[in-house]
Amino acid sequence: MPAELIRILIGLVAVAVSVGLIGLVMVWVERKVAGHVQRRPGPYEVGPYGLLQPLADALKLVGKQLFMPDNADPILFWLAPVLSFLPVLLLFLPLPLGDGLFTLDVNLGLLLILAFSGLAVLSLLLGGWASNNKYGLLGAARAVAQSVAYEIPLLLSVLAVAFVSGSLDLATVVKEQGTWPWNWNIMTQPLAFLIYIVSALGETNRAPFDLPEAESELTAGFHTEYSGMGFGLFFLAEYANMVVVCSVATVLFLGGWHGPVLPGPVWFVLKVSLLMLLLVFFRWTYPRVRFDQLLNINWKWLMPLAVANLMLTAFFVKLAQYAVVKM
């Protein structure tokens, strides 16, 4: 067996385990933060500081009956949650946690992530469609319209960074940046960072852009009919997706593993956690936007801004190259 394959296998197992762990931790963090935002303690009964609460929740989810509505399409119905979760695992492979600390050494890492994250919407569509529920269908339709729309500014903002770094390899992008915050890409590409964060909220269906599952309108949107682990996988995939978009943001804009004193992976995890906290705060403080407003934000603001940003970046990159050649 070639060494590369073993490396990928070990990496996949490690990712699968850590995604599960991250899911558990994030459930706890989300509920604890929500609790404190809402002036209540959050979970505190199970274990110290309620730390075992997500474990108890997970056990409950695993133990629940897998229920399928009568008219649902059985194959697609069960395929959807699996399909929402599996591609997310692949997204972790090219992420460099530290110098040389990554599973898959591929010089198109960014492209791989963008390609596989596009798959997520397929599972939402299948889930909503196959459950033969009108709320589910509406949620699925919203998910598709939203994801397709928000993928474009996301891509454009990421491309701007790729232009600056001259590479689609995540490790190279990080190496191009320096130790201190003023050496990070966020200083040269602040607009791209903003666009990225907003579109990432839209991509991951997080509040205030959680329209596919808008509780007060569609009860639970695309996962209305899912219970037990079917719902659990969607739930886990949402958190895993959050981690991925935050990690990519860290790699592209916040200098990846770079940072003074502390070792690289620690800095990486710290930055990702900070971004995750930001997303959690968004969810518990803002009302939900309306669907037409959501698309308007995208097509009228994010898209043109992202295109303008990309063109400006391209112009300056070319100018810099020209200047170098001249000298």
Partner: protein, 388 residues
């Protein structure tokens, strides 16, 4: 998919099928409720949708019909008071008051002045609780999870105060024929005096954090415009009518109790949309605080129950009477007709929510689903009151 291929034809009850008869071929018939997060209880709305757009909507009522009017026929007036606390759990004391006002008018009973003040104070406190409940729940409808926790925190303080004289926290039956059951204690009055400045300090925070939030403003501004003419046609009252610029408040239009003696304004809004109704309710909280403040100052010493107050077996004299009060949702009217027998012969309850909801079908058509939820919430519906 094949097993129940014929399900589409037989699925749906009478209302859905009847509604679907006139629907277009390509549209989607969706039942919002009776179990749905944003219908606050068991309201059911059938909507015909074209994508996200609502072509037609029809509320279906009766899932929480408890025959209060029928029960009034088999109970004496005094025995019926607890029912009045259960018609509208949001503003129970206003219903207490409307019924007893009608009975007192029928029997010609004069309520002692202190009792009138106690009634006004408790009723206004209850109105604040009702508006806070609406505020939190409305923002929950709009997808903001946190404000309801703050609203309930404040509401809790009101309930704590109301608990002292009334003994209950939600479904009060505190007023009696000819007065109230218990006087406001010194403890209670002190809590009220402490509550007023505290609540006033909270309102600017709510304005900064919630009312001025850009997402919220975009969600409710220009949404669900109700013309004054439409309000009049459907008999809408309360903040819904005032949000459309109709200056009608029973406390001013048909003054009762001590309201003529206190100074307060009736807020109206020319915006006519969900924002207008939102603003009206937020200002009403302030005005209720003002009323309570003045009442606590002016309240005289004296009896809280008229001498020789009616016993439970008391028979109302023959005749008819109508009495209306301003509830949190609008004009609450109670009409009683007695033939001099043991029980009041007929009691008719006019619930403001019923008229306010009737607007919905007309206002919501042509909007998108999220707007319909925003409109439904802005009407401040309490389903038990609508079904009675």
């Amino acid at each position: 998919m094949t097993r129940y291929a014929d399900m589409d034809q037989v699925a749906g009850d009478f209302y859905t099928n009847n509604f679907a008869k006139t629907a277009k071929e390509s549209s989607l018939i969706l039942n919002l409720g009776p179990q749905h997060p944003s219908t606050h209880g068991v309201l059911r709305v059938i909507v015909e949708m074209d994508g996200e757009y609502i072509l037609r909507a029809e509320p279906v009522l009766g899932y929480l019909h408890r025959m209060h009017e029928k029960m009034a026929e088999v109970k004496t007036a005094a025995q019926f008071i607890p029912n009045m606390g259960r018609v509208d759990y949001g503003h129970a004391l206003a219903w207490n008051w409307a019924f007893l006002g009608a009975v007192e008018k029928l029997a010609g009973i004069e309520v002692p002045e202190r009792a009138e003040y106690v009634r006004t104070i408790t009723c206004e406190l209850n109105r604040i609780a009702s508006h806070l409940l609406w505020w939190g729940a409305y923002l929950l409808d709009l997808g903001a999870f946190t404000p309801i926790m703050y609203a309930f925190d404040d509401r809790e303080k009101v309930l704590d105060i109301l608990q002292m004289p009334t003994g209950s926290r939600l479904t009060y039956s505190y007023y009696r024929i000819g007065g109230v059951a218990l006087d406001l204690s010194e403890d209670c009055l002190r809590s009220i005096r402490e509550f007023i400045p505290w609540m006033r300090s909270r309102l600017p925070m709510y304005k900064d954090l919630v009312s001025d939030n850009i997402i919220l403003r975009k969600r409710i501004e220009g949404v669900g415009v109700i013309e004054p003419e439409l309000c009049r046609r459907y008999g809408a009252t309360g903040p819904v009518a005032r949000g459309s610029g109709i200056n009608y408040d029973v406390r001013r239009a048909e003054p009762y109790s001590v309201y003529p003696k206190v100074d307060f304004i009736v807020p109206t809004s020319e915006l006519k949309d969900a924002r207008g109704r939102y603003d009206v309710r937020m200002i009403e909280i302030e005005q209720s605080l003002r009323i309570i403040e003045q009442c606590v100052e002016q309240m005289p010493e004296g009896d809280i129950l008229v001498k020789g107050a009616p016993k439970p077996s008391w028979k109302a004299p023959k005749g008819e009477a109508y009495f209306a009060v301003e509830g949190g949702r609008g004009k609450i009217g109670v009409y009683v007709a007695s033939d001099g027998g043991k029980n009041i012969y007929r009691t008719k309850l006019r619930a403001p929510g019923y008229s306010n909801l009737s607007l919905f079908a007309e206002v919501s058509s042509g909007t998108i689903l999220a707007d319909a939820v925003a409109i439904l919430g802005s009407l401040d519906l309490i389903i038990p009151e609508i079904d009675r």
